[in-house]
Subunit: 349 residues, 2 copies
């Protein structure tokens, strides 16, 4: 049997150099993914933030049965989520910062939500693709958000998840956007206030508002108080379908537009242009799909997540968004990469 | 905010250079995984084996609703599973060989099984870790295999899945093992006969047997006949818990030992040593865990899959297996890497 790539590709004997390894790795990739999600659910990283533990100590602390404990913890080592030295497990630098529930830098909320809601809902992806209908708790009803917001515990988990996914781009926006030119901003659909917090931490001259549904107010205020920023950040209750947006020098919409259909997206962009002064800016940030729609797998999969989670939402490219901004009256716009899969589109009125 | 790695790692403000990107990518990795599984279920690659198609043509052929079709197909492009040129989608070299259902090289059975059974069962991973109990269809009863084998359609899917996962290492074993020293072999737990087929295709002097439960015989014979190999490969019905193993120069056990607990593993190894002549060889192949249990994530996750799927199964290292072989009477043994996550342990009597 030859070993030269591309020589024998007859279908009966797949060539040794053309292997299905990548196919199998992606197809069974949910194993590693679900292992990390379960480890967050079981508090592995929060326990290890206290110090290194043996297999038996960690299993006892986290309530893991002896049968799978060693494979489970060693799989987390192989996935780069834990260290192991001399038989004792410890957090990696990243897992210690981001997955210890007792630290304000915890971003595990997004993984808790992925574990409890998205993983089972994505089990119906095929049905979603066949029907074009969302597959979440509100399956068969009109609006996923009503269902999501009706359960206070589910709402807290969701809002904390949104902070988890927004914190890295929020930190990048605090650094990359020209805040020195502006005094005030409003974050539309602010959730806990992850972005406003990062912006005012980095820029002492700026004050901001979080805009969201009334039910979100106490959750926002808890979060902002935990940073001692209540003098520079306030909450304005409202509904961006029924009310105008609050006026400010800068308006931010992070992971908001992708929740809605095209008509709703255009309505939100129109409201933003109305609420800005001449020279004011709208910052839209998302896991933007690359303009050629072939590189940012995460952005494309996020759009499928919107298929699963919302009646009409979808993700889009930077070029799509610049086109919409032009239509509603922004005079210029540009796209800038933030971090990981996230980029921002800035529209100037 | 500084941009130098490792300088500001205080927990309140995660440093820009220390990002949770890898955590999020692994935690949401089930998105890409499930997207590939659904694409196999919808026959995307089988349709495209006929020739390139536009988005609309492919969506119509596969029964995909317009809402998600373009994101779905472009996500498969970004995952490296499809090509796209001038608005037309086509299979990659690998997906054309391995994911077209009409080719004998199809290995999608393992992904069909992952989609219909493993994905939902892994949703109970946390419960499996807490209790040490399997979480498959037989949850609460004694033996996953009885349940699996009781439904003929489920059995065919399972056996075809086993061929999918065994074909690449089987091809490597046909090439790497010194078959010139031996005349006969038996493949224990042969399923469709994926390994025996590859061995006799590569070595004209060798004849072999597939050994498995009686219900497997027609499925084995269909597969072997499709290669015209019925004169050199026969089926022997039996139960490796109740019967001795058939005698042969070489015995093969691929992805068999990991299904069983330690006592059952030792019993199977003992039966193998009894069935071999002096100088005969046992080949055990699995996604062996590396001896240091920190590199082969796939092998460790496969062991968690055994937690989900079986009452007592687990994967193991090459050193573990060599130790067991010595205990039951093999005079020497060695480990050799095959392909991807798979390695073989060869024991010589």
């Amino acid at each position: 049997m030859s070993t030269t790539l591309g020589q024998n590709t007859s279908v009966g004997e797949p060539h040794a150099a053309v292997t299905p390894e990548k196919i199998i790795q992606i197809g069974l990739g949910f194993w590693g993914s679900k292992t990390l999600l379960s480890s967050v659910e079981l508090g592995i990283f929060t326990h290890l933030a206290q110090g290194p533990m043996s297999c038996e100590e960690l299993a006892r602390a986290a309530g893991v049965h002896p049968r799978g404990s060693r494979d489970f913890f060693d799989a987390l080592v192989a996935l780069g989520m834990l260290n192991r030295h001399a038989g004792h497990y410890s957090n990696t630098h990243e897992s210690n910062i981001f997955l210890d529930k007792n630290k304000p830098s915890y971003i595990g909320g997004v993984l808790e939500m992925a574990n409890s809601r998205l993983y089972p809902q994505w089990g119906s992806l095929t049905e979603g693709l066949r029907t074009g209908k969302h597959q979440n708790e509100a399956k068969g009803t009109d609006d996923g958000f009503n269902t999501l917001y009706s359960d206070p515990q589910r709402l807290r988990t969701f809002l904390s998840a949104m902070t988890g996914i927004s914190l890295p781009p929020a930190i990048a926006i605090a650094r990359k956007f020209p805040w020195n030119k502006y005094q005030t901003f409003v974050d539309v659909g602010t959730a806990q206030g992850g972005l406003p917090t990062q912006v005012v931490l980095a820029h002492e001259h700026v004050t901001g508002k979080g805009f969201d549904l009334p039910i979100v107010q106490p959750i926002f205020e808890d979060y902002v108080h935990s940073f001692g920023l209540q003098k520079r950040l306030s909450f304005e209750a409202g509904n961006f379908f029924e009310d105008p947006l609050p006026e400010a020098d800068v308006i931010v919409m992070g992971h908001i537009l992708h929740d809605w259909n095209l008509e709703e997206k255009m309505m939100l962009l129109s409201k933003a242009v109305k609420a800005l002064p001449r020279g004011g800016s709208l910052i839209v940030y998302e896991a933007l799909i690359d303009d050629d729609r072939r590189h940012n797998a995460f952005g494309l999969l996020m759009s499928l997540n919107m298929l699963i989670e919302t009646p009409g939402g979808f993700d889009y490219t930077g070029a799509d968004c610049c086109g919409w901004m032009k239509k509603v009256g922004f005079s210029e716009s540009y796209v800038e990469h933030l971090v990981g899969p996230d980029s921002m589109v800035v529209g100037v009125k």
